[in-house]
C-alpha cells in the first residue's frame, strides 16, 4: 500500500545550509523597513504558522505519521496564554511561552501514549478524536473559555521591558515581529539539530521500514512518543505566539478543520523536505488571506488548489522547485 519513496532527505553540511539560511534571514530582518506594517504583520502570521507546520512535519515527513489533530496543541498553546492572562494576570511573553510549553508537554505526553500505539488511518482518526475532545470543551465551558466569543489577550510585555502601550499596530509590526522572528530562528535551528541527530535518523528509519528499524534495536513506540511530544510542543509554541498577534483566541483553532489546514500547508510546501513546511505555511498564509479578501468562495479556491496539488505536484513547492533546479543544472 504505502509506496512512499525512501529517504529523500539528503544530508547537507551545516556550512552549505548556512549559505541558504543567512541570506533568507537578512531579508526577513530587513523586511519591516521595506514593506508596510500590514505586510509585516501578515508575514509574522506566516512565520508563526511556519513553526506549527515545522513541528507537524516531524511527525508526517520524518516519522511517517499523519496527525489530523494538531489543532489541539496549537489551541492548548493559545488557550494556556489566554487563561494565564485571565486568571493569573500575567503579561510577560516569556512566561507565556514557558506556560504554553509546560501545558503542551502535559497534554501531548498523555495523548501521545494513546496515539503512538497506532499508525496510518487509525493514528489519524485517534488524534482527530482527541483534538475534538479539547475543542468541545473549549466550545462548551464558556465560563472558563468564553465559548465561541473566545478570550481576549492584550499585547504582552517582551523581555520584561518592551510594551505595546500606545500604538498596537506599530508594536506588532516592529517589536513583536522581531520577537516572533527570533523564536522562529531558534525553532528552526533546534528542529534542524533534531532531524539531523541520531534520533532524527532513527525516526526516518522507522518511517521507511518499521520492522527493520525494530531489528536494529530501535524502540519504535518510545521514539514515536518522543517525536509526538516534540512535534506537539513546537505547534503549541506557535499557538502561544499567535495569540498576541491575533488578540483573541476562539475554539475555531481547536477544530479539526484547522488541523486540516496545517496538513494542507505542509503538503503545499512539500513534506519531503526540511524547508517545505515553512515555505508552505508562509505561502498558505498569503494565499488564504488574499483568497478570503478576494471572494466569499475562498474555500472553493483553496480546495481546488489542494486537489490540483495532490494530483499533479505531490512533492509540493520545494520538491518541484528542487526538481526543476536539478534538471536545469544537468543541462
Amino acid at each position: 500500500m504505502s509506496t512512499v519513496t525512501a529517504a529523500v532527505f539528503e544530508h547537507r553540511s551545516p556550512v552549505r545550509t548556512l549559505g541558504w539560511a543567512l541570506p533568507a534571514l537578512v531579508i526577513l530582518l530587513a523586511l519591516p523597513f521595506l514593506v508596510d506594517q500590514y505586510q509585516t504583520i501578515l508575514l509574522a502570521y506566516g512565520l508563526v504558522m511556519g513553526i506549527a507546520a515545522l513541528g507537524f512535519n516531524l511527525l508526517l515527513g520524518y516519522t511517517g505519521l499523519l496527525s489530523f489533530g494538531h489543532s489541539a496543541y496549537f489551541g492548548v498553546g493559545a488557550y494556556s496564554v489566554a487563561l494565564m492572562v485571565k486568571y493569573l494576570g500575567v503579561t510577560s511573553m516569556e512566561l507565556f511561552l514557558v506556560g504554553a510549553i509546560v501545558a503542551c508537554v502535559l497534554v501531548t505526553a498523555v495523548f501521545g501514549v494513546a496515539c503512538v500505539r497506532y499508525t496510518k488511518i487509525f493514528f489519524g482518526i485517534l488524534t482527530m478524536a482527541l483534538s475534538q475532545v479539547l475543542w468541545s470543551l473549549a466550545f462548551k465551558f464558556f465560563w472558563v473559555t468564553g465559548g465561541t466569543d473566545g478570550l481576549r489577550v492584550p499585547t504582552p510585555t517582551l523581555l520584561g521591558a518592551i510594551t505595546g502601550k500606545g500604538d498596537k499596530i506599530a508594536f506588532l509590526a516592529t517589536a513583536y515581529y522581531y520577537y516572533v522572528l527570533g523564536v522562529f530562528v531558534i525553532c528552526v535551528a533546534v528542529m534542524w539539530v533534531i532531524v539531523n541527530s541520531p534520533f532524527g535518523r532513527a525516526l526516518q528509519a522507522i518511517r521507511d521500514n518499521e520492522v527493520r528499524a525494530e531489528f536494529i534495536g530501535i524502540r519504535i513506540r518510545q521514539y514515536r512518543w518522543v517525536a509526538f511530544l516534540v512535534s506537539g510542543v513546537f505547534t503549541g509554541l506557535a499557538g502561544a505566539l499567535w495569540v498576541p498577534l491575533n488578540g483573541l483566541t476562539t475554539p475555531d483553532i481547536m477544530h479539526w478543520t484547522f488541523s486540516g489546514e496545517i496538513v494542507f500547508m505542509t503538503v503545499l510546501g512539500g513534506f519531503r523536505s526540511f524547508t517545505g513546511p515553512i515555505i508552505g505555511a508562509i505561502v498558505f498564509n498569503y494565499l488564504k488571506t488574499y483568497a478570503v479578501g478576494y471572494t466569499v468562495y475562498w474555500q472553493l479556491l483553496l480546495g481546488v488548489v489542494l486537489v490540483v496539488l495532490v494530483l499533479s505536484l505531490p512533492t509540493g513547492i520545494v520538491g518541484t522547485a528542487d526538481r526543476i533546479w536539478k534538471r536545469w543544472r544537468a543541462r
Binding site: M1, A129, F264
Partner: protein, 297 residues
Amino acid sequence: MDIIIIHVLNALLYASVLFLIAGGLSLIYGVMRIVNLAHGNLYAFGAYVSAWVVGLLVARAAEGTAPSIALLLLVLPAGALAAAAFGALLEPTLLRPFYKRAEEYQLLVTFGLLMIIDDVIRWLWGPYPLTASVLFENFGSVNIGESIYPTYNFLVIAVGGLAAVFLWAFIYKTRFGVVLRATSQDMRMSAALGVNVNRVYVQAFTLGCLMAGLGGAIIVPSQSAVLGMGVDALILSFIVVVVGGLGSLEGALLGALIVGVVRELGITFFPEIELAVLYLIAAVVLLIRPAGLFGRA
C-alpha cells in the same frame, strides 16, 4: 413514563440518521479502504437538494392549489438520488487515481473535496438556511401521555430501520452483495476471478453516497439545511464507525444506536460535556479494540 418514551424515540431518531450517514462511510471504507472526509458534505448536499425541490413545489403551488403531501413525500428522495449521482461522478474522476497512493494523499484529496463542496453549496443556495418544514408541519403530532411528539419523526425512524434491513438483505442475500463482499475481502483475488473491480467500486461508492443523501433528505423537513451541517455530521459519523468498526455495517448500526442514546442522555443530563463524552468513548474504544466493536482486526 412518557418522558422516557420520548427520550427513547429521540435517541432512535438520531440513530436512524446517523446510521444512514455512517453506514455509507463505513461501506465505502470497507470496500475501497478510503476514508472519505467529504462524506458529510454529500449528506448536506442531499438535504439541500430535497429542501430545494420541496420549496420549488410549494412556491409554485402558492399561486394555485396546495401540493399534496403525497407528492411532496414522493419528491423528497430527490436529495438521495442527487447525492448518488454526484458520487457516481466523483469516484471515477477524482478518487480512482488515489487507490494506489499513500493514505495521506487520499485524506488530502477528500479534504480538498470537502472544502469545494461546502462552497459549491453556498454558491448554489446562498448562505441562508433552506427549509422544507411544510412536510413536518403537515404531519402534525401525536400525544404520548401528557406530552406531544411530532409524527414526522416516526417516519424518519422507520426509514432508518428499513434502510438497515434493505442494506442487510442487499449485502447478504443478493449476487451483487456477494461480489461486493468478495471485493472488500480481497480485491486482487476477486479481480482474478473475473470481477470488474472498477465497476464494483463505482457501485459501492454510489450506494454509500445514496445513503448519506437519504439521511439528509429525510432529516431536512424537521431541521433546515444549513451551511456547516456536513462537517458536524462527518465528525459524529466518525465516532459511529470508530465505535462500531470501520467497514462493518452491523458496527455502524450499533455505533449509531450508542451515539444516539449517549447524545440524548447527554443533552438531558450533561449538556456541557456531551460532545466530549462522545469523542472520549470513541478514543476509549480505539484504545481497547482498535478495530471497533465489530471490526475485522
